[in-house]
Symmetry: C2
Subunit: 337 residues, 2 copies
């Protein structure tokens, strides 16, 4: 079996960081520092036309100067420079790009025109894009942290795919103190090109991924999403939060990632039919991550509650009944023990 066509995105052998910088707390500084500190095992090239060195590494003015094959471009330069960079990357054989830069479709008419230009450049050279306007991606097992998150992620078997960078940051913060690890963290941003369906398709066949969590505002290609979701849910637990449930929420999502949001009840019926668990709150998503990462899968629906307080025990019993769980009847031997 040949490699998946998104392999250069998720498992690149060489990465160029456009906009890599020494300017403290700039996005380009944090992204390049993350790549250095996460121990990426492939070749790593900072690109900055104004500086011969970035964070102690030899920097390049342009992709042409590198003289080696680059598989993935990570871009954190001003928006108006991005279409040109993508064109240049195409000429030099780059196959995938993570565009962290914001200021495209979500930023009015001028931004939308720039996004069209960007997409045309990518299509011309068959470059696949994550973003723009995203936190970036992480693949802890190969030391890839192409994000501007402050802090990395532990290696684990959960894939988290999110249309909100803020939620990536929140779940990554929480995961550190809760000892939860990830196979992949993908902040999709506007998902102008690569959408949920294609990412799911990759994660289904990714041996490092045991379960999939998603935060969704809107789906561009519903058909490919549903078909990938069906395939994924058949072999791995899939848990998602879908927002924009109401008109007001949809409007907020529109101004956030310019996502069009369909009828919520249709979405709800479709995902429950393919066996995906939809949760409503971040706490539920965190709890799901914790439950999935512990590796324990319950058998059956009977539950025992251990508590030192009567009231909390009654509340937990109520909640279990809400969810259709049955209280276990402990045997005499268990009680004795």
């Amino acid at each position: 079996m040949g490699k998946h066509y998104l392999n250069t995105l998720f498992a690149p052998k060489s990465v160029a960081v456009f906009g890599a910088s020494d300017r403290i707390d700039s996005v380009g500084q944090i992204v390049f520092q993350n790549m250095l500190e996460s121990g990426f095992q492939g070749a790593l090239y900072p690109i900055n036309p104004k500086s011969p060195e970035v964070q102690g590494k030899r920097a390049y003015a342009d992709i042409a100067d590198i003289g080696e094959q680059v598989e993935l471009a990570v871009i954190a330069t001003p928006p108006q420079t991005v279409p040109g960079i993508i064109g240049n990357c195409g000429i030099h054989g780059v196959k995938a790009a993570v565009i962290i830069t914001a200021g495209f479709g979500e930023a009015g008419a001028a931004g939308a025109a720039l996004e069209k230009e960007l997409l045309e450049a990518a299509r011309r050279y068959n470059i696949r894009l994550i973003g723009p306007n995203c936190l970036g991606i992480m693949r802890p097992s190969i030391g890839l942290n192409a994000t501007f998150n402050k802090g990395g992620a532990n290696t684990g078997n959960i894939a988290f795919v999110s249309q909100s960078g803020a939620l990536c940051t929140a779940i990554l913060d929480w995961a550190q103190s809760n000892d939860v690890g990830f196979s992949s963290v993908v902040s999709m941003g506007s998902s102008t090109d690569v959408d949920f369906g294609e990412i799911l398709d990759y994660l289904v066949s990714d041996a490092n991924t045991g379960s999939i969590l998603m935060y969704i505002e809107g789906i561009r290609n519903a058909r490919s999403f549903m078909s990938a979701l069906r395939a994924a849910a058949r072999i791995k637990p899939v848990i998602l939060v879908k927002v924009g449930r109401h008109a007001a929420g949809s409007k907020a999502a529109m101004s956030h990632t310019a996502s069009l949001v369909g009828a919520d009840d249709v979405f709800d019926a479709a995902v429950s039919r393919v066996g995906v668990v939809r949760v409503q709150t971040i706490t539920q998503l965190f709890t799901a991550a914790k439950a999935l990462s512990c590796g324990f899968r319950p058998v059956g629906k009977r539950l025992a509650i251990v508590t030192n307080g009567g009231g909390p025990g009654v509340m937990a019993t109520d909640r279990a009944a809400d969810l259709g769980l049955t209280m276990a009847t402990l045997s005499d031997a268990t009680i004795e023990y």
Copy 2:
């Protein structure tokens, strides 16, 4: 207007603590220490027949030895001693008692018989009882902390009335670090005698109480509860958690406080009709306490969300729509500002 008949319970001038002790971490030690440290301004008498002094204060062998009027008895002695103590209190004119001791109706047939004996003694002398099997009561504004909670409560205007001592402890812990204060904290335990209706009736006319939070497993006197609830909700915000919503939860409540639980949808309809807010989780109860204690009351139903993350903003907008709130349209002047 004369004083409310529960005034000796909620605002006693003199308190005797039966079972007050020097034995570290015994219930009687903690209760008496709490009374000393909370700065109770009335007369305070430790009662312990085995010791002439408790925690540096002269102790009494019996209520008869005090020779002064005692308004409230706080009892933390073994269960089999309690009916006799209540009888003795009655003879010496005590009008109210908080019975912290467990081991009555919730503890099988022998406990139930003891509880019957206890109630008969109380009725004979017209003593009103909180408990048994409770954490106790607090009235921070008069320095009354007749509980075995570790730590006190700040003075504030929230009354919290709970059938679960564990939830009292939880909300008191949380309140300390969240700077939330209380007018009253009442752990009802089995509510063998004084039930929710009578406590509500007192709190309605209590000038220190601005709002009322309740944790309910079951109501003994539904008629007096509903009538007090209607009166309370008309003039103060009332927020409650009612558990035992399902058969399984009811069974758990039965073994906890021996409460009989009625049909949940009837309860739900009744409380919403009188204008009481019913919440489902402890987090919602905490949030309500925080919102009520800040003293700010929103006018109207329009909401603005301030966030530095698009995703959380969309989720909050969705949730607001769930609750029937409308997103505010900010004026140009507000946006400018």
